[in-house]
Subunit: 217 residues, 2 copies
DNA sequence: ATGCAGATCGGGAAATTTGCCCGAGGGAAT
DNA sequence: ATTCCCTCGGGCAAATTTCCCGATCTGCAT
């Protein structure tokens, strides 16, 4: 609550990879009106740091262990509806982008973008605007044209969770236990997922999950 | 071919994300005996840059489009068997680590490591030693205790072919047709593959296939 | 020659799972 | 209040998996 607003942009960096974070910090601090005031490597830490430092912009990688990135965004926005959060992700899946904005992010830049794009996006977000890198905009534009429901939109939350665990290699029994469901229910979800997405094979489901950023590798 | 060896360590940075690359560059150049002499964002470019600059160490992210990271390592090593390549990856899957070393890498550090670990690894590799971060070593140690025969060695040619098509998303009927086999035979192979590899789920088979380079994506 | 090992190909039968339909309960929206 | 959708599971025939088996064919050592 100092004179943060009057001069420069204060930034909270959230990424679970120390080296990566260190790298960003150096890139960002090269701009002399940027100040990285805190770092965090998980959702809970990010929330604490936000409360403690009230940064102008949060730059966050949402692919953190536990898929907690979206949670972190929601938590921060719940505390401060004016919080500016710029998501900085490896992927540019339409579903992920929409989920991020839906959770309250103000911007979305992929790690494939030029540093200048990230820097510009941070300035835009700090100004209260929305920002996204060119590739993200292109992906969103394309999929808004196609009537393809992104395959995942037609799935409920439970279905998505089960799809992810399926793709992760869990057996139906394990999933049933993880989620406190009967094996039968998991079987039914499995069937429904295949029916809704049009996939015939489990292998195709895995590929779909990977494409949608639900599973890695 | 200048006085590169006498003073400091010259480095070629390979990563397909410009921002990430920029970040590493700053982290590395903070060490005053490190010099990043070139960057590349794909396998072909990496090879060209290696030829042009003959760096002491190549720091490479192998998760690049086209799964070409291992190719790049092999190409570079084919040209210069003394090339020092340090892989810098998001993941620490045992299979990936072994593939990297098998292709000729001298080190493997995950992005989850502290910057100091990366820097130390670079020095080790430059000295001609092998290096890996603690988490990678742990993963390797654990799985070396298991008598896993690399999973694919125990599979016959036909089994591997069927595994690949399975992982590619083909149905058993399609595979049977492709290979002029009865559906029954394909089912039997499917069963045998699962039995031999110890995988319980089709999704696990897909992951195995991807890890072993049988399938991409 | 002979035998052994192993890869390839498929049949058979029991056990399990899938495919598909159905109903019930809860919550959100109208 | 009513409708809609998500969640959760039962039921049952059809399909698949699991595991066993035998038949070729090849290479390779005896």
């Amino acid at each position: 609550m100092t004179t943060a607003k009057t001069r420069g942009i204060s930034i909270l960096l959230v990424d679970d990879h120390p080296v990566v974070r260190q790298g960003y910090r150096r890139v960002l601090e090269h701009q002399d009106d940027f100040r990285v005031v805190a770092e965090a490597d998980n959702a809970a830490e990010a929330y604490r740091a936000f409360k403690a430092h009230a940064p102008n912009v949060v730059v966050m990688d949402i692919s953190m262990p536990g898929a907690s990135g979206l949670e972190a965004i929601r938590n921060i926005r719940a505390r401060d509806a004016d919080a500016r959060i710029l998501v900085f992700s490896m992927h540019s899946e339409a579903a992920q982008v929409k989920a991020a904005f839906g959770a309250g992010a103000s911007g979305f830049v992929t790690k494939g973008s030029e540093p200048a794009e990230l820097i510009q996006a941070i300035r835009s977000v700090a100004r209260g605007e929305h920002a996204m890198s060119g590739d993200v905009a292109r992906v969103l534009a394309l999929q808004s044209l196609a009537p393809t429901k992104s395959a995942l939109d037609q799935l409920g939350e439970r279905e998505i969770e089960i799809l992810r665990q399926l793709a992760a290699g869990s057996t139906k029994e394990q999933i049933a236990e993880n989620l406190n469901l009967s094996t039968k229910t998991v079987q039914n979800y499995h069937y429904l997922i295949k029916a809704k997405t049009g996939m015939r094979t489990d292998a195709q489901l895995v590929r779909l999950a990977v494409e949608c950023g639900l599973a890695n590798l």
